[in-house]
């Protein structure tokens, strides 16, 4: 779908704000534009949490059904992405409850000494080959659920720490601590691959 807006070319943020207002008045084309802009990110987030593509499909649809029904509840128009990811996480947690899956919140990472022995990634390591992609997915899978969600919101979806704090319901300091620990854990899992290339 191509949206043509009058006047000077608006930024993506301006356009999103305009279309969000239209979607709130019931404009289906505007909601479609928002869906097409955010659906892939929401799906990827859910797939990383659920680790199941079919389940991520269903959860993505459910996320947007809820978002459509509750667009009027979005207070900050500039935080649509974070708001959608917040709904997605609720959908994910509900799906876990339906499955009777326990979310482990108690494990702890080994400590910051890990950082001292990590190799430094080389330019060759920056290429995400299939092997590294598999390792990355595996490493993300070893993270505690809430820590994984927080890390992904930062490094994949680019949310500022303040918005992650709102999505996760954590203090800003806890967000920073958890993301730091998640990074150390992730790097520890990838170190062998990264170090082997240098």
């Amino acid at each position: 779908m191509k949206m043509v807006l009058a006047g000077a070319p608006p930024s993506d943020t301006d356009r999103e704000r305009t279309l969000l207002r239209r979607a709130r008045t019931g404009d289906p084309a505007a909601f479609r534009w928002l869906f097409e802009r955010h659906a892939a990110g929401v799906w990827r987030f859910l797939k990383d949490l659920l680790r199941d593509e079919a389940a991520a499909d269903e959860a993505t649809q459910e996320t947007f059904v809820r978002a459509h029904a509750r667009l009027g509840a979005l207070r900050d128009e500039d935080r649509l992405g974070a708001w959608l990811l917040g709904i997605a996480r609720h959908v994910y947690l509900e799906s876990l409850r339906h499955r009777g899956t326990h979310v482990d919140m108690d494990d702890e990472v080994h400590g910051s000494q890990v950082e001292a022995v990590l190799p430094t990634p080389t330019p060759e390591d920056l290429l995400l080959d299939r092997e590294l992609e598999g390792l990355l997915a595996g490493a993300l899978g070893t993270l505690r659920e809430d820590r994984r969600a927080a890390l992904l919101l930062r490094i994949d979806h680019g949310l500022p720490y303040e918005e992650i704090s709102a999505v996760m319901g954590w203090s800003l300091q806890k967000v920073k601590n958890e993301i730091h620990r998640a990074r150390l854990q992730l790097r520890e899992h990838l170190a062998a691959h990264v170090g082997g290339h240098s």
Binding site: F31, Q61, L128, Y161
Partner: protein, 162 residues
């Protein structure tokens, strides 16, 4: 920067720092091997995530047509909603208030039933509320009234007939 802070390096790469903080963090990182090491990892992570995002598979969930059928109800405009339940509660409260006042009033002026014992107060209340007060309930007057209406009039037992 007095200590190496990964969150500041992360914010530097995300272009989230003010110009002053950007200059400060960058100057520190250039001279700090630990921060350079951390920056390498942060850059690698960001790069991997970006590449991963570009490899998104085509999924049925990403087709708007699949979603459209589930969007049954149109979006409700964002004007403040006044629920019918709100008005219903208000009406119920108003009716309850009227009923309370009415019942209380009736209880104050309630006429005793025929089976209940009378008191002087009952008699006075009844007399002032329901019938004209008789200043001369003499036997002759009662008899004359009984003859006129053709019925036996029973006076209150607590009011002495003169």
């Amino acid at each position: 920067m007095s200590a190496c802070r990964e969150t500041e390096l992360d914010a530097l790469l995300a272009d989230e720092l003010s110009p002053e903080d950007t200059a400060r963090v960058r100057a520190h990182a250039q001279a700090c091997p630990a921060c350079q090491h951390a920056l390498s990892w942060l850059r690698a992570e960001r790069g991997w995530m970006a590449q991963r995002a570009r490899r998104m598979p085509a999924r049925p969930a990403l087709d708007f047509a699949a979603l459209e059928s589930r969007l049954r109800k149109p979006v409700v405009p964002t004007a403040p909603k006044v629920s019918w339940m709100h008005w219903g509660k208000m009406l119920t409260a108003a009716l309850a208030s009227v009923a309370f006042v009415g019942i209380t009033t009736l209880q104050v002026t309630r006429l005793p039933s025929a089976d209940e014992p009378w008191t002087r107060n009952d008699a006075l209340t009844t007399a002032t509320w329901a019938v004209d007060w008789c200043d001369d309930p003499s036997r002759e007057a009662v008899a004359a009234l009984e003859a006129r209406v053709g019925a036996c009039l029973v006076a209150s037992p607590l009011i002495t007939l003169r």
